[in-house]
Symmetry: C2
Subunit: 361 residues, 2 copies
């Protein structure tokens, strides 16, 4: 399956943290703006981090793209989702027709939508979908195995998912994309995400597991049982990101991991969306802690474990609007705020330039 230019070790070795010296220069610039000290709060921190990430005091965030990774999950056999599995393919079709939430919000913020079949059960051709520069097929398998009974995938498949995500995102950066968002589609995928959250943050299954698309009380119980069973049977090693991804993860989550590593590798910011993308970020952090410094947390999901994940990664969510759709929607909406933070940094005049009197001593 694997035929990738770089291997995972080469990628990880070449990721450096954002440039602290440029971030210091950026903070000095902010202190000269004709506003009360740091009066635009988090927008300043975001803008300065964009400087450190891009190694530039002129951060520009115009060309945006969201990659929506799609995959199916054997774990749905355990009755963990409120929606039938065919919805994964149906929604991918909807994404390519432009009718979904992610399409609406990407049009709104001026972002391209790229969809990747990383391993959904449906055959794209039977859905009438052709691959093109908006839709890519890299079906590792038609859905993962049920991780309550054994590993979701093998280690080579996990590596393949990450490396394909890396290459897809790298191609976008090479085409000029300067701000990338990650999205997901996969019925049942809050279940592997919660399992990843439990293994990496050491939170309890109860704390990490929510209702996803809206499972009822009995389904929530089945979901918790399946997650605990999966962890007990597979014993994923909390220090080995690849082990966790292969044992309790998903193909689309692996693709998201690859996108995040690509952003860090290419010195570009990446906006993660909600619970599933953040599970990907946890894996990326396990593989390469420095990569998480390239992350922006688009929003805080309604999924209860999301806060714990974000806290573990040291990320402050940009938006908190009670979203729980996935697809990349929260990250897409937050791209507008990230773009604004770059403009605040670039465009507001200093006291000197504007001829405004400074604070009284």
């Amino acid at each position: 399956v694997n035929n990738h230019t770089l291997n995972l070790e080469e990628i990880v070795e070449n990721i450096q943290p954002p440039d602290q010296k440029i971030m210091k220069q950026a903070r000095e610039h902010t202190s000269r703006l004709a506003i009360p000290p740091r009066a635009l709060g988090m927008l300043h921190e975001m803008g300065e981090r964009l400087c450190g990430i891009t190694r530039s005091l002129n951060p520009v965030m115009d060309a945006k793209a969201v990659v929506v990774m799609a995959g199916d999950h054997g774990i749905v056999e355990e009755g963990v989702s409120a929606f039938p599995q065919e919805v994964t393919g149906e929604m991918v079709k909807n994404f390519l027709a432009g009718g979904a939430g992610i399409n609406c919000l990407c049009r709104h913020v001026g972002a391209r939508v790229i969809v990747v079949d990383m391993g959904m059960k449906a055959d794209p051709q039977s859905l009438g979908l052709l691959t093109n520069d908006t839709f890519y097929a890299h079906k590792i398998a038609p859905g993962t195995a049920n991780f309550a009974k054994g590993p979701a995938m093998n280690r080579e498949q996990a590596k393949d998912a990450i490396l394909y995500g890396f290459e897809r995102a790298s191609a976008l950066f090479q085409e000029g994309v300067c701000l990338l968002g990650t999205g997901d589609m996969g019925i049942g995928n809050t279940t592997p995400s919660a399992a990843i959250g439990v293994v990496i943050t050491n939170a309890s299954v109860d704390e990490m597991t929510g209702r996803g698309t809206g499972v009822n009380d009995a389904g929530l119980q089945r979901k918790k049982t399946a997650i605990q069973k999966g962890i007990d049977i597979n014993q994923p090693d909390p220090c080995d990101g690849l082990d966790i991804l292969s044992k309790v993860g998903g193909f689309e989550i692996g693709g998201i991991v690859g996108c995040i590593l690509a952003a860090a590798f290419h010195k570009k910011p990446v906006v993660i969306d909600g619970f599933i993308s953040t599970a990907g970020a946890l894996i990326a952090h396990a593989l390469c802690p420095a990569a998480s410094q390239y992350l922006f947390a688009g929003h805080c999901s309604e999924e209860p474990g999301h806060k714990t994940m974000l806290k573990y990664l040291g990320l402050e969510p940009i938006l908190n609007l009670g979203l729980r759709l996935g697809e990349g929607t929260g990250g897409a909406l937050a791209m507008n705020i990230i773009d604004a933070s770059a403009k605040v940094f670039r465009e507001i005049l200093t006291f000197d330039q504007a001829g405004v009197s400074e604070k009284k001593s």
Copy 2:
């Protein structure tokens, strides 16, 4: 001074709450979208409220404008601000040159900036500023009187400020603006705003008073003392919005009140910014409770009393990014989210339209 088409009573009498029947139809539409039930959280509530406000199931929020009301404050004599009073005029000049935070964020969200001299101390001509369709002069007086020693203005001036704000905003709506933001510039204006907050919400001076642009401990104490003195001397009537505005308010705050009433009168949404705009909203609510149903709270300010004000008005802030700049900046940034909520309502396909399977029973 007064030569207005409508008087305040006529305006208030003609304000009706948003249309509940259309909002119910809007909620029914949302329930058919191909997403888990209400999975875009607050975006749905916002979009449905836009339907009720505009009396339409096709809310469009493209043409945006922010009105920045400028005025000076006699209360600065009491040493309540970290910045010298000449900054009000200097910043107005900066707004008209396009170099301030509000210019940057309005360009970003595609909103026009309109600046009004409601009563700043500086003479616009001596600053080299000409009135045009971006800058209007309606200087009621060169700053309010020091309200720690008596009323900030008389009742006729308060009415004039509101009616001029009403007419300015009405003109924008008649030109096609569909989403209005309110902004402010006035050194010292967190002091009258806190006084208004105390009188209307019944919170304590301690709870309602913050550091504004960054006053030090001694200045904060002077500010609290001045507010208490102003309330004790003037005894504003908590049930009479005009009395409160005239005794402890400001000309730019009156202008903001007028903008809010105009939005409600013309059935348009209005985004308030932070502490000063919300003080204006409290006065508008005191004059006409139904008007507050046309409000969107752009963000939660760092000014500590702002949460109390928003709670009093029953408003949930859209953004929470630690902003405390004023000028209308938080409201401007939130316009993008409001616009997104209208598109979410209009553009996401239903289960039927998208051919997506519904939730399992």
